[in-house]
Symmetry: C2
């Protein structure tokens, strides 16, 4: 099987992909989250792996936005503990520039303020490309995984520099088929409500009425009308469960736009 | 009066600050959103101006997060139409690198994919610092305001390159005092609910019961416990209005953490 992931090689998304699929599959790195969606959509690969949110830094906006226009399904979630390293071939006190992706820079914000308040921070497309930049340039460092340090020949100056020690990232596996119920599933839906007061409350009321336990709600601009938003809501259960499928019909009748992004085995839930 | 803003000079936040305050005040540029909060907190400046959300690209995470630990109030909102320019001293077809802040890069995503799919994009701390980088380096360009182009001596290669033509950004003025009711106000509250199913629904139910019209809901990691979130909710009305102040007491009793960030004259509302 071919699996696209938000690369290049050694990113945390790459590690999540290897954790979920057997190692002997073919893993295809893509430069952007959009290209992962495109690759699965065009059948170049069977599945794609993209980051969706981090426990410290919040949602990955580009992943959520990609679902608005895509018809791909969420087929699984993966949760990975994230331990960032400071990687460099210079000494700690010589560092003048630090490269990383926007998310790890946020996850190590206090560490950076404390140790490198005057050092330039450069946002790279990924942690792996940050490591590549740091390997080519004197007096520069990268915040990336231990694996990226090994692969791109950088020394580990410090391990676990993330501000929250229990730092986790959640990834989605995307594909074209639906996943069957396992008895412990979660479902993600995407919708926009009618533009009337209390519309969102009515939708959430349907969840309560059908005893559906919501685990997440997130809003993003619809990109269709200024200040109009779409909601991503997650809850426990599978869209094929009787109560849930009744609830979803009810919700759809309260919305101007509605789709089920997928049901998949739960790896995190608020009732854990 | 001294007003801190997310700078350097010529950023959109600078333009929003000038739009809201009289020109003859002293405007003090700060390198990060955190430093704007700090400056007002330490009485170095009386007010601060920070971006909070864009109609295309969504919330500015660092601004929302800064309110979690700060005791500053929202005293006003400012809405500014945003028109991005492609600025460079090289020719369009010679451009090898494009500098900008993460938000404008998101707001011009389709434009960049169409015209510069193979060109390196570098995320800068602000649009102004992107313009400074582009002014110093051959074959590079910046996405920033017309004003930044004038100030840093760059030619305007193309105007209004944002994907959505009606692109607006909303800013908060932060300070230490509360703003009096004007009859057409909005209020922002921040809370986290008890960790029980249906807790958020109960809170939103209070709004409906008191006929309060919610205009926005957003969640962010609490940074206290893995996967725990705090909610930012906005609604029409002033916290001193009788119905609202009763509702807020009711909401507080449903929460483990609760604060009113401020009430201020409404510049956008979903009922407009």
């Amino acid at each position: 099987m071919k699996i696209a992931f938000f690369g290049p090689e050694t990113t945390y998304t790459h590690q999540a992909a290897i954790k979920h699929f057997e190692k002997n599959n073919e893993f295809v790195p893509k430069k952007t989250i959009g290209e992962v969606f495109e690759s699965v959509d065009k059948n170049e690969t069977e599945f794609g792996v993209v980051p969706v949110e981090n426990s410290t830094e919040g949602s990955v906006a580009h992943t959520l936005d990609s679902f608005i226009e895509s018809n791909l399904k969420i087929v699984a979630e993966i949760v990975l503990p994230i331990k960032h390293c400071l990687l460099s071939n210079s000494k700690f006190e010589e560092i003048k520039k630090i490269y990383s992706h926007q998310q790890p820079l946020g996850q190590c914000k206090k560490y950076l303020q404390l140790n490198f308040s005057d050092v330039e921070r450069i946002e790279s497309l990924s942690t792996a490309s940050a490591a590549i930049s740091a390997s080519k340039e004197k007096y520069s460092a990268a915040i990336a995984s231990e694996l990226a340090g090994e692969r791109f020949g950088l020394n580990i100056l410090q391990k676990e520099i993330n501000d929250e020690k229990d730092n986790q990232t959640r990834f989605f596996v995307i594909g074209k088929s639906n996943t069957k119920p396992t008895g412990k599933d979660k479902t993600t839906i995407l919708f926009s409500t009618k533009n009337v007061p209390g519309a969102l409350y009515s939708v959430l009321g349907v969840l309560t009425k059908h005893k559906i336990n919501m685990t997440k709600i997130e809003s993003r601009p619809s990109k269709k009308k200024t200040w109009e938003v779409v909601f991503f809501v997650e809850f426990e259960g599978h869209y094929l469960d009787k109560l849930i499928s009744e609830g979803l019909k009810d919700i759809e009748s309260n919305c101007v736009f509605f789709k089920v992004l997928g049901s998949y085995p739960a790896k995190i839930s608020i009732s854990d």
